[in-house]
Amino acid sequence: MTADLTLLLPLTVLWPMLLAGLALLPGWGPRMVMFLPLGPLPALAAALFAPRDTPVALPGVLLDGGLELTATGAIFLGGAAVLWFWAGVYAADYLRRDSRPAAFALFWNLVLAGNLGVVIAADIVSFYVFFAQVSLLAYPLVIHDRKPASMRAGTVYLVLAVLGEVAILVGLMLASHGAGGAIGIEAVRAALALPSTHPAALGLLIAGFGIKAGLMPLHVWLPVAHPAAPVPASAVLSGAIVKAGIFGMVALLPLGTPAAVAGNLLTILGFSGLFLAALLAVGQAGAKSVLAYSTVSQMGLVMGVLGVALAAGSAPATVLPAVALFALHHGLAKGALFLGVGLAPLCGRGWRWGLMAVLAVLGLSLVGMPLLAGALVKSAMKDPAGALGATLIGLSALTTALAMARYLAVLPTAKPRRRPPLLMALPFLALAGAALWLPWLLYADVTGKSPLAADLASKLAEAWPLGLAVLLIAGAVAVGLKPPTLPEGDALGPVQRRAAALTAAARAALRAGSRSLHRSRPKPQIVIGEDLDRIEDIFREGAAAAILVLAITGAVVAASLI
């Protein structure tokens, strides 16, 4: 039975790819949108039933790669599967009137396969392959509607994704070399801790994964790309795909061995992202942008914690479950929030209140409202985050709350008397439910602590930033204060303009240089030509021949006499 169940792992990635393949068939493509929800089913099964820590070798594939499901991985896998499933259901309905359903189905499934594959890869090569797949093939999802803004966003996304890929590849190479050429994930992770491994390896990996996970200041692509995609795609981008980066760190950061520089750096960047991104979120005009920044913020939290753990050398077991749980919650909740954005225009009057209520609960959960799942996962994070980290996490409730409030405030309005279609509402509710419920379910299993064991009172006490936030929001609303409108992708615009100017300058310089290079090599005038003709005329004279006879005779005689 076990043997059979391990086969779920290859199936996890192959099945979506098969679906992708079907999308290529003429005639089938548009219809494959209907089957989007089918993609993650094997993954769900695997997450539930596949044996943990049992590698499945795939001889011949890549560099003799393999797949393996770790306990942490299972949470990521399960969470991703749930999110993808419901987003798929949502998409099946959402995209019914889309003009490019086949392309969407194709890339949806491919990205799905990559996303799932990242989680279950047993070796870095497979990991990298899946990672590239999830990164780059998400590009078509980002630009799916082909609007100019989407295209711009896609370009930014792609550039940073490629940069990230390269950083990861080089980091992996360095690490693998440190491991003596081994490519098993465990071996590589161990090697990263070794002093003999090139120090750049860790940095590059962090940078690479950081790009994917929206690590400040590498996050610039995220707030432009996530909102650009169709709603279900945004949901998986923010909910699941971003987690690929997190999972990369989870899988490869050499926790357990103190790595001060990298750890501290990650900590600083992560926590600064936690706050800055949330504040930037407040300045956004679009609901999806707000959510995207919120994702950056939340991921900053995760990475900050990972940084602390890395710097401190905490054992993986003390960190990873919490991270996994947090990621699970965030993924599902963020997914639901994104779906909510899509639902909002469809919810007339009464429906809207219901929607707002659910969204508010989800928001509060993200903020860390006691008794909600979010608080649970945050509390789990506080342990590995250390004292300062814990404090910061606590404080972040304030900014997160502001961001969530902003989200609710800018939620698109609905036309009256619209009622949401069931196939779109159901996924939303399901995800919301899962987000709120699953952490409770898994908390004990993962952390080994009872979810209720924590002191309720102390929790409430720690919720003071939330209270402050509520006050602030209320005040702002009362005074009519509006947050400044910030552009999506904050630093992106100026950087792009600067880069464009630089490129132009470089081009001009190159052109000038090459022109001067050409000019410095003038075509040789054929002056010698006439001289050669003259010489030749001389040789043609009999007199010259006679003299040459004498000369050569003399030369031979003289040379022989030497």
Binding site: F539, A545, L548, T553, A555, A559, S560
Partner: protein
């Protein structure tokens, strides 16, 4: 009967017969070509010691005919070249339109040259060589005169000068040693003034015949105007006899006399010829002068080989390289001139720029030209490559980097000018759009057979390297003499 005498007698007989037959003498080539090829092959397959004294008169007085490796190869190549050129001339009349005299006298002159070349390759007697040299020169000048009298007259004067210089050298040799036989001279030659002067004069005279830079002045104009078969013979045969006599002189008769410095004089001239000829060839915008200057350059290789042969303890490689270069050049250059003749006839002009569209119109001819280019440049597989390879090996082995450099650069320069001509054939017809860039087939395939066969042979030589090297070593002066060891004069 032996091929040693028949190779001389048969062409002379054909010459007389052609004279008797008048205009219909041209058909004799149908008999002569296979017969001579057969004889040449027979000669090549003779046992290594094949030689005999004419009239059975002993050496200081008599004349020895000997089939050494050089002779065998040269005669075989000569038979192939003249046979092919002759057959070609049947299909492509060599004369200028209306010049019936040329049409008729062409054939006796060709046979005269054939006999002279064969006799010259076989004999070891310096005075006999003078006579054969005159046979060949006379025929060559007359053939050149069929194109341009002015160029032929120039050629004539310069060649006459060369003959006289050679004759003066022979005279001094006779007086000094009472013999003109190469083999005997090899035993008695001493490095005194008379000998050196004789050697110098003979060398200078022969360099004129061999058209080595800077004595090449006669060659380009003579070739440029001559009819294609005449040019082919001039470049292939006339030039080679002078070279072979020089080989006899420097490596056999006076091997003991020549010092390295003198050899380097020749080698240096050879190197200069390669460079100079190539540069001049690059400057030509007409096809035949280009090919003619290519001969100037190619002749340079032959002499560049002199110091290489002399400078090593095991000269078989360089020797074979030198000999095979001569042979390969004969074949390839003859093929090239024939092809060039056809091409120029087709375009009714002689500029390289006029050649556009020929690759389509006459693919076989252009192929022949191309194959000849390959061999002349020394690209594998070809006789030219085998030769150049051997020479380059020898040069590098001896550390003669100057010569090695010239060998290498010469090949590149050859590529530059020869491919210029070849690629012109691939260009579209001048003045026409790309769609209309085809000419009608200008000549049938028959005319292309001869150049194609010759060029093909030059290529095939590249596959028979070992056999050719072995042949070239037969009775070579540096090898241990196998049989003939004639007694010195009493």
């Amino acid at each position: 009967m032996s091929p040693l005498d028949l190779l001389m007698a048969a062409p002379l007989g054909f010459m007389a017969a052609a004279l008797m037959l008048g205009p219909s003498g041209r058909w004799l080539i149908l008999l002569a070509a296979p017969l001579m090829a057969g004889l040449a092959l027979w000669l090549a397959l003779l046992p290594p010691d094949a030689a005999y004294l004419v009239g059975q008169w002993d050496l200081p007085l008599g004349i020895l005919l000997r089939a050494d490796g050089v002779a065998r190869l040269m005669i075989l190549a000569t038979a192939l070249v003249i046979g092919a050129v002759g057959l070609h001339a049947l299909a492509e009349p060599p004369e200028k339109p209306g010049h019936a005299a040329q049409a008729e006298t062409f054939w006796p002159l060709v046979y005269l040259m054939w006999a002279g070349a064969n006799a010259g390759f076989l004999t070891t007697d310096l005075f006999n060589l003078y006579v054969t040299l005159e046979m060949v020169s006379l025929a060559a000048v007359a053939l050149a005169a069929m194109g341009s009298l002015a160029a032929a007259l120039r050629y004539f004067m310069i060649a006459l000068l060369g003959s006289l210089a050679y004759l003066l050298g022979v005279a001094l040799t006779v007086a000094r040693y009472d013999t003109v036989d190469v083999i005997l001279l090899a035993q008695v030659a001493e490095a005194d003034l008379a000998t050196l002067l004789a050697l110098g004069l003979m060398t200078a005279g022969l360099l004129i015949k061999a058209a080595l830079f800077p004595m090449h002045g006669w060659l380009p104009p003579a070739h440029a105007a001559a009819p294609a078969p005449a040019s082919a013979l001039l470049s292939a045969i006339a030039v080679k006899l002078g070279f072979v006599i020089l080989v006899r002189l420097w490596f056999e008769a006076f091997a003991a006399v020549t010092g390295p410095a003198a050899l380097h004089v020749l080698g240096g001239l050879g190197a200069a010829a390669v460079i100079y000829g190539s540069i001049q060839a690059m400057r030509q915008d007409r096809l035949k002068p280009l090919v003619a200057y290519s001969t100037v350059a190619q002749v340079g290789y032959l002499f560049l080989a002199f110091p290489l042969v002399a400078g090593t303890v095991e000269p078989s490689g360089a020797w074979a390289g030198m000999t095979l270069h001569g042979v390969a050049h004969m074949l390839a250059k003859a093929a090239m001139f024939l092809a060039a003749g056809l091409m120029l006839k087709a375009v009714a002009g002689d500029r390289i720029a006029d050649l556009g569209g020929l690759a389509q119109a006459m693919p076989l001819t252009v192929t022949a030209f191309g194959l000849a280019v390959v061999s002349l440049m020394g690209l594998p597989p070809s006789g030219g490559f085998t030769a150049k390879f051997l020479l380059l090996s020898a040069a590098i082995e001896q550390g003669a980097f100057l010569y090695a450099g010239v060998l290498v650069i010469g090949g590149l320069l050859a590529a530059v000018y020869l491919f210029r001509a070849l690629s012109a054939c691939f260009a579209p017809l001048a003045g026409a759009g790309p769609d209309t860039a085809s000419r009608g087939p200008v000549t049938g395939g028959v005319q292309a057979v001869a150049p194609l066969a010759l060029a093909g042979l030059a290529i095939v030589m590249g596959f028979a390297g070992t056999a050719l090297v072995d042949v070239s070593a037969i009775e070579a002066p540096w090898a241990t003499p196998t049989v003939i060891q004639p007694e010195a004069a009493p």
